[in-house]
Every structure is written in structure tokens, then in C-alpha cells.
Symmetry: C2
Subunit: 149 residues, 2 copies
Amino acid sequence: MTDGTPMALALDEARAAAARGEVPVGAVVTDPAGRALARAGNEVEARRDPSAHAEILALRGAAAVLGEKWLAGCTLWVTLEPCPMCAQASSLFRVRRVVFGAYDPKGGGVEHGARVLSASSCHHVPEVVGGVRETESGGLLRAFFAERR
Amino acid sequence: MTDGTPMALALDEARAAAARGEVPVGAVVTDPAGRALARAGNEVEARRDPSAHAEILALRGAAAVLGEKWLAGCTLWVTLEPCPMCAQASSLFRVRRVVFGAYDPKGGGVEHGARVLSASSCHHVPEVVGGVRETESGGLLRAFFAERR
């Protein structure tokens, strides 16, 4: 299922994050049947916690819902290419797939920079699909930062 | 201050983690004066949360103690070379320095694998010191895994 329906939820989370003054990134974890287990937006500012990226919160939330450490067969949907921290977290939680929206040449760690999931330090390698609803995801981020300049 | 005193606290946390059935890794964050702000051991099993590495918990704990998002001038001490997730987290929390014990050629993401802190995706690069009380740190891990085989 890459029809982008969970990405619409992730985009909603990104918009809600922007409204709270957070960098607009949203994430959703779906189970193997495509049902959303958890969703989250960035909470870095609210929690004063630079590790409170949308992906980490959604992954932790999904594991809590399942009562399982590993998210076997699950998909992480996120509006922006994950940073190296979140890319490695997707591997540690053992999701089957990572689907992201906008590419992030500066801070991304999947298709750019540290390319964490392609490194020898990565022992569970999720499938990766990038560019899903990229224009909307990237547009949210551009609008957010343009307003702050 | 690299006399290893905070590393002794981190080793205590690693031993306590082993006693709880967790992979024995411990971490401490010290402020610029060398005082311990937070300390933690791995809690992956207890929390059923693969992101609950000692480093993440200690970084979050230190930020909570300071009431600050960034750990300016602080040092992260950890008994094992951080994985890519924790290496990036040390950058996101903006610690000045990462001091680690044993090198981790398989899973480490600082001196091995993704080498996260040397990548273009890393915008704040902490100073890194590896190999501090390496033998004790590595010994704890070897003993833990030998017992489980």
C-alpha cells in the first residue's frame, strides 16, 4: 500500500506541528494490514527534547500499542527524509518499510549524508520509498521557515 | 577532564543494566564543570523500546535537569561507541564532547559504519574521545553475551 493515505495523516500531523511552532514534520506507523497504530508530529520545542522527532514518537507509540519491542511488518510514514537518528531508530524498531515525503539533502540520513541504512552498522535494513507527496511535505517546511526569516 | 571519573559512573550504570538483563551499556552527561547531570543504563527490555539506549536516556535526563534543549559545553560519557541513532542524538543535543569506552566495529556509528558525526548531515560536531576504560567496558559486554550463548 503506497497510495499515500497514511501520508495524508502524517501531513495532518506536520500541519498541527507547525501550528504549535514546531518544525512541520509528521509521522505515522501502520501495521501490516495498513492500519495506523500511532501518529505524531515533532515535539522538540514543547518537550525541550531534540530527540522528540515525529518518527521517534510514532515508533515508540506503535511499540506501546502493540506491546512489542519490534514493529515487524510495519511501515513508518514520515513527511521528511529521516535524519540519521531516526533512520537508525527505524532499523532498531525493525520496521519493514520507511516511506518518506520530501528529500532532505542537508539533514537527511537515508538518501543523503550518513546514509545510515546502507552502512555496515545497520543490521536490519527496511525497504525505502522516497518522494511520496513530496511537494506538499516540502511546501509545509518552506512556508514554515519563510515565515521565520 | 578525561580522568575517567564520570566513566566510572557510566560503568556502574552498565553493571546495573546487566543485572536487569539489559545489554550492559551505561551513560553519564556532565556539565562544563564536570558535574554529573544525568546517568542511565540501557532500558530497551524494561521499556520494550529499542530507542531507550543509555545515551538517549542520559541526554534527555540532562536536558530536563537544565531545563534547556541544548547541552552546551556538556560531555556525554558512554561505555560503548554510540550507534548511529545515539551519535546523531549527541549532535542534536549539541554536546561539546563524546567520550566512549569500547569500540564497536559491528554496530558503532562514530568510528565505524555510518560514521554519523563525520557526515554532511551532521551540523554540530562534538569532539570525540574513544577507548577510555575500554577493557572494562568491553569485558562487561563480552561476559554478558558469553553467559547468554
